[in-house]
């Protein structure tokens, strides 16, 4: 899951990036409000962690501005401002969650997963499509109750497809889910990962829409 981190404090930003990476997130880190707004408008992230006291442009202004521009991704505001009016304003402007520093990394990760899940209309912690179950917290996948070992990229790809089950995702969209900045994307990486997933989970699960992308059919949902 690829998230944008907007935090101006070098130590905290570095810690959050490293910590979220350990927990399986792909993290892009920006240090000022203008960069945050530019990235959020341009790239597709699963979610964003936004500090409010950002240089150049305040976090709340960034939030208000991207919401006006129709960017709907879940935004978690992470801030030192803990007064109730600040929280209320943050949520009113368009934050999906409001967390006061300091925060536990595991909690932050869980909140981000929950935000992303709800943003995709998934009420349950585990995602189920057909007979495949995906647990984002444990980063584990099972098919018909049997655990299937996946690489990190394969997991992220499957996670993206399952979150958007029934919707076609283009190769570019999938690449954005899989790679953060500075990571080189091999030209046929997505095809390779899809190929591996099909080998592990069966050909029927992921369907190719020629010239467009890939889709996971919602059919045959099984209960977890």
């Amino acid at each position: 899951m690829r998230v944008l981190l907007a935090e101006d404090d070098p130590l905290l930003g570095d810690g959050l990036r490293a910590g979220l990476r350990q927990l399986g997130f792909l993290v892009d880190w920006v240090r000022d409000g203008e960069a945050a707004e530019r990235e959020l408008r341009a790239e597709s992230y699963a979610a964003a962690v936004l500090d409010l006291g950002l240089p150049l442009k305040d976090g709340l202004e960034v939030l208000a501005s991207i919401r006006r521009a129709g960017v709907t991704l879940p935004v978690l505001v992470l801030t030192a401002r803990d007064a109730i009016p600040d929280r209320v304003r943050g949520l009113d402007v368009g934050a999906d969650d409001y967390v006061v520093k300091p925060v536990d990394l595991n909690e932050l990760a869980a909140r981000l997963r929950a935000l992303v899940r709800r943003a995709h209309g998934q009420p349950h912690e585990r995602l189920c499509v057909q007979d495949v179950t995906l647990d984002p917290a444990a980063r584990s996948v099972a098919q018909a109750g049997v655990p299937v070992p996946l690489s990190a990229r394969e997991f992220d790809l499957l996670h993206a497809l399952m979150l958007n089950a029934g919707r076609v995702l283009s190769r570019e969209q999938l690449e954005q889910h899989l790679y953060s900045w500075g990571q080189e994307v091999e030209s046929n990486a997505i095809e390779v990962h899809v190929h591996h997933l099909r080998r592990k989970l069966g050909n029927a699960l992921i369907q190719t829409v020629r010239g467009v992308g890939y889709v996971l059919a919602r059919d045959l949902p099984t209960s977890s």
Partner: protein
């Protein structure tokens, strides 16, 4: 006499004391006046009676003729008369003694006299008859006069005796009503919670209380300002401490979750760095809190030149590690009245800022000079300087220049400004004409000159 401490008691004692005093004076004056009038009246009656007796002495005078004068009035027994002829008692009332009321051997007494006869005090009028050897005495018991006097006083002043307790009660009630606003204020103040600092309404309060209420409201205002600044400080401090602590926590968690040694050691290094930063921040906050508490600082003569050289010697390694050129121009002793510890903090903050915000290879110049008795400390650098807008905001608590790449809290400036204020010195930030970067000047006003 010591007055009671309570206003109500005080007023009551004074009012009642004055009323009773006035009453006693009135009684005394009445006593004197009535006695005078009574004496005049009764003396004239004695004289009248004596005149009647003298007139009667036209006929034969027998020796010791006791007249059983009928008691015509209950008062009559208190009046007696004697008539002497040729020194012998010729006529007397039944209640009169045989001896003359006044001794008159060899001479004839005349006029009024008060004498003691047989344990009773008499007022006696003596006069001569038409014949020279007739002596008439008419006496009246003084006791009877006194009883009349008392009766008059009783009837005229007696009601006052009953009035005094009633008056006391009325005065107590009136005084209580009068001081009621004070009692109400006391109760209102007593029931206030410590943080209720809204002013007390002055409208409607007695005019005597208005100055006190205004003074109280002024005090409330000052306390509330102080509390507000404390509150803001605490909020700012909490806000400012959260970020470094969040950083420390995140880095520590990264270290815990790290699988590679390099990753763990990097996170632990960052954790330590975060601790150092939080420590510095806390030290700055404490310094600022102490400065803002309004505590008095003992100011003594301090040689600012020596102090600047010493501080620069301590921070110079920091500059040298950035290949910066640091220079002190402070040859002559320049004495200011100040607190050496605070002045060190001031100089260190300014020099530290210049070093930190100037790039590698920059020049930092520290100067101490004396111009017309005013000592001037300047710190200039060849760094990037500051925008006009930023220069204006420097010194606001937690204001820091954005994008400086330094993790300062902006507290250093607040502290420098506060220390300058403690020394009644003026701190000015400007563009350095000499080096092109920032120039900070602290001008100490010489008290002897000023």
């Amino acid at each position: 006499m010591k007055l009671p401490r309570s206003l109500q008691g005080r007023l009551l004692v004074l009012v009642l004391g004055l009323v009773v005093g006035a009453w006693l004076v009135t009684a005394a004056l009445t006593w004197i006046d009535v006695r005078h009038e009574l004496d005049e009246l009764l003396d004239s009656h004695l004289a009248q009676a004596a005149a009647l007796l003298v007139v009667q002495q036209t006929g034969e005078i027998e020796d010791d003729h006791r007249v059983d004068a009928p008691t015509l009035h209950r008062y009559a027994p208190k009046v007696a008369f004697q008539v002497f002829h040729e020194g012998r008692l010729a006529l007397r009332s039944s209640n009169a003694p045989a001896e003359p009321m006044l001794g008159f051997e060899g001479r004839v007494a005349d006029g009024f006299k008060t004498v003691e006869i047989g344990g009773t005090t008499w007022r006696v009028f003596a006069t001569r008859g038409r014949e020279r050897d007739v002596q008439v005495f008419v006496g009246e018991q003084v006791e009877s006069r006194n009883s009349i006097l008392w009766a008059v006083l009783r009837s005229s002043l007696g009601p006052m005796l009953f009035a005094v307790p009633l008056l006391a009660l009325a005065a107590w009630w009136a005084v209580r009503q009068g001081v009621a606003p004070l009692r109400l204020l006391g109760r209102a103040l007593a029931h206030r919670s410590p943080d209720a600092l809204q002013p007390i309404a002055v409208n409607g309060a007695p005019s005597e209380m208005a100055p006190m209420l205004e003074a109280l409201n002024g005090l409330f205002r000052r306390i509330s300002d102080l509390l507000e600044s404390e509150r803001r400080f605490t909020a700012d401090a909490a806000h400012e401490l959260r970020t470094p602590i969040a950083g420390i926590r995140a880095q520590a968690q990264v270290a815990l979750g790290a699988t590679a040694d390099a990753e763990r050691s990097r996170a632990l290094q960052a954790t330590l760095q975060g601790c150092d930063r939080a420590t510095r921040l806390i030290e700055q906050l404490l310094t600022l809190a102490r400065l803002e508490s309004g505590e008095e600082h003992a100011l003594v003569a301090v040689d600012l030149s020596a102090l600047a050289r010493q501080v620069v010697a301590e921070v110079a390694p920091q500059a040298l590690s950035k290949q910066q050129v640091i220079e002190v121009i402070a040859g002559n002793p320049c004495t200011v009245q100040g607190d050496a510890t605070l002045l060190s903090v001031l100089v260190r903050n300014l020099v530290d800022n210049a070093i930190r915000y100037s790039p590698a290879g920059a020049t930092v110049k520290i100067g101490v000079s004396s111009e017309q008795g005013a000592v001037r400390l300047s710190v200039e650098d060849s760094g990037p300087g500051m925008s006009e807008a930023d220069m204006k905001r420097v010194g606001e608590r937690f204001f820091r220049v954005i994008g400086s790449g330094q993790d300062g809290s902006g507290l250093g400036w607040s502290i420098a400004r506060r220390i300058a204020a403690v020394h009644r010195a003026v701190l000015r930030v400007a563009k350095s004409d000499l080096l092109g970067g920032l120039s900070v000047e602290v001008r100490f006003l010489d008290e002897e000159v000023a």
